[in-house]
């Protein structure tokens, strides 16, 4: 309760106060910030990079370090702001990887056509979904994950990525079309087998 009063008196929201305290080195505040948001941040990063990507943990960590040095103005929810940082960092990592031509290898690893184990429809469907997602460009993947999977609005995604809403619409449309094509191809191959 005392913490809340301090926050109100200082003219800061609770979330702003938490971030301020964490940035000031308050260990308890750092723990609360991390524990309260790491699941969401990790989920976002793992979606954009792929759950098996070796850079996921690094990006999550860098997101929190960046947040402690950033400027949170309280206009959005703290969680949305953190996901924005995570998104930008994940995109950077994905682009860097694309430049290194590593993406195709990771796609093969997690993706379509890998040797199947014992039948597990739930697991196979997830693998298929992740593999299809991996075929999108980082930008398409990001808007698809944030809008279709995580439920953020175009306005929020636009603020997170500094991208115009019409561009986001176009990317999402392209992402959906590509996913439909990929899944149709996979179905066709399955029927042939």
């Amino acid at each position: 309760m005392a913490e809340r009063l301090v926050a109100i008196e200082g003219g800061l929201s609770e979330e702003e106060a938490l971030l301020r305290d964490a940035a000031g080195g308050d260990e308890a505040a750092v723990r609360r910030l991390y524990q309260g948001h790491v699941d969401r941040v990790h989920r976002c990063v793992a979606r954009i990079l792929g759950p098996a990507d070796p850079d996921v943990d690094d990006v999550v960590q860098q997101t929190f370090l960046a947040a402690l040095e950033g400027r949170f103005d309280g206009r959005s929810k703290l969680s949305t702001w953190l996901v924005g940082i995570a998104t930008r960092r994940a995109l950077d990592a994905a682009r860097a990887r694309a430049r290194r031509h590593r993406w195709s290898k990771i796609t093969e690893w997690v993706g379509l056509g890998r040797p199947a184990g014992a039948p597990d429809a739930r697991h196979d469907a997830l693998s298929q979904a992740e593999a299809a997602l991996a075929q999108l460009s980082p930008e398409q993947r990001t808007v698809f994950v944030l809008h279709q999977v995580e439920g953020y609005t175009f306005k929020e995604i636009g603020e997170m990525t500094s991208t115009g809403i019409s561009t986001l619409h176009a990317r999402l449309k392209a992402a959906r079309r590509r996913l439909d094509e990929l899944l149709a191809e996979a179905d066709l191959e399955g029927d042939e087998r």
Partner: protein
């Protein structure tokens, strides 16, 4: 996913989000705290829009950031996380994580509990313990005074080792429940489950202690042998000897001084079990399995049967005989009591989930574990697994 297109992809991803396990969270939290304390900065990559300017503090910060990254990537001296909780009766005083070199001390009326993955160490009031090593394959504790009770449950039997060192002895173990009490001039070791190896620090003869046995080690080899707590003592037998101070990791090369197991004229089930363990330690599953089967084919104490069946399950799983492994674990669960039986149920559940990929059977086994051991060492993991397998009714309380 036929014909459902992009919406089906979104649906699948929503249903099964990527998750971060408890260990990874603890490691991340610890690394972040260390970074904040050290005044680390985020790298500039990806920090642009909406974050504000991220300043780097020159070469020192870069070096520190590189070190931090190495720590995060697992290149640090520790691959595991030790969590502790220090409390007075009915009240938690402090909790956090421990590093190698950390010392944990309890006052009168205080107890502390340290968890490392699925193992648990309880420090009694008035005790002092140091974490000497915390690595993927070993946990080394130094007990300066007081008493520590250890429940060691390696994720894969034989791949991890734990030791407790006092002024008089080192107690080495590969999977068991035991207590070490360090007095001014003597150390008392009692074993509740499994087997430990006690190496006196004065170069005295090492000794294996089995379930129900207790041994007091005093200076100048004035060891005091005491009667067994239970009636399942193992007769004296050849011991796989190592020089004092040498680690006893099961998968380490066999010491040159190893005494090859020799059959006793009329081996008891417990002696057979000990022999099988030594063959396993020597990498000879082909010799261990007949011993273990012989235990199960003849009358034997239930605890010995359960241990034998569990070991058979482990060996079968390692060699890819999954159905045989499941049958062995089921047998161990049937005859085993206490933690041995509970662990067998959990091992069966994990096998069904991860190797046999039979979610319905795995759900039933995890639920059985929780029914029989609601506060068991693996109960949190069992609840997590049930959540993962879609058993919403039992998700409550998952970590």
């Amino acid at each position: 996913m036929s014909g459902r297109g992009s919406e089906a992809v979104a649906q699948r991803l929503r249903e099964q989000p990527p998750t971060l396990d408890e260990l990874a969270k603890a490691r991340g939290e610890r690394t972040l705290l260390a970074a904040v304390k050290a005044g680390e900065r985020a790298s500039t990559e990806g920090a642009g829009r909406g974050v504000g300017r991220i300043a780097l503090g020159g070469v020192a910060a870069l070096v520190a950031a590189a070190a931090l990254l190495a720590l995060w990537r697992g290149g640090a001296p520790t691959d595991r996380v030790a969590r502790f909780e220090l409390r007075e009766i009915d009240a938690t005083a402090q909790r956090g994580t421990l590093e190698p070199g950390s010392v944990l001390e309890t006052g009168e009326g205080e107890v502390a509990e340290v968890t490392v993955q699925e193992s648990r160490v309880r420090l009694s009031p008035g005790s002092r313990m140091r974490i000497a090593a915390l690595a993927e394959d070993r946990l080394e504790l130094e007990l300066d005074r007081g008493e520590v009770r250890v429940e060691f449950h390696p994720r894969e039997r034989g791949r991890e080792a734990l030791s407790v060192t006092t002024a008089q002895a080192r107690v080495e173990v590969v999977g068991t429940v035991f207590t070490v009490r360090a007095g001014d001039a003597r150390t008392e070791v009692s074993v509740r489950e499994g087997v430990v190896r006690v190496v006196p620090s004065d170069a005295g003869e090492p000794r294996q202690l089995h379930a129900g046995e207790r041994w007091t080690v005093a200076p100048r080899r004035a060891e005091v042998a005491e009667p067994a707590i239970e009636d399942e003592r193992v007769p004296e037998e050849p011991v796989a000897r190592a020089e004092p101070g040498e680690a006893d990791a099961p998968d380490a090369p066999v010491p040159s001084a190893t005494v090859v197991p020799t059959p006793t004229p009329a081996p008891t089930p417990a002696a057979r079990l000990a022999t099988a363990r030594r063959w396993i330690a020597a990498g000879r599953a082909d010799r261990a399995e007949p011993e273990l089967r012989a235990i199960l084919d003849a009358p034997a104490p239930r605890a010995v049967q359960a241990e034998a069946a569990t070991l058979l399950g482990d060996l079968a799983q390692r060699s890819g005989r999954l159905d045989a492994a499941a049958a062995a674990y089921a047998r161990a669960a049937e005859v085993g009591t206490g933690a041995v039986g509970h662990n067998a149920i959990y091992a069966l559940a994990r096998l069904q989930e991860r190797r046999l990929r039979d979610p319905a059977a795995a759900r039933a086994s995890y639920a059985r574990y929780l029914a029989e051991a609601p506060e068991g060492a693996l109960s949190g993991h069992a609840r997590e697994a049930l959540c993962r397998l879609g058993d919403a009714a039992r998700c409550e309380g998952a970590r």
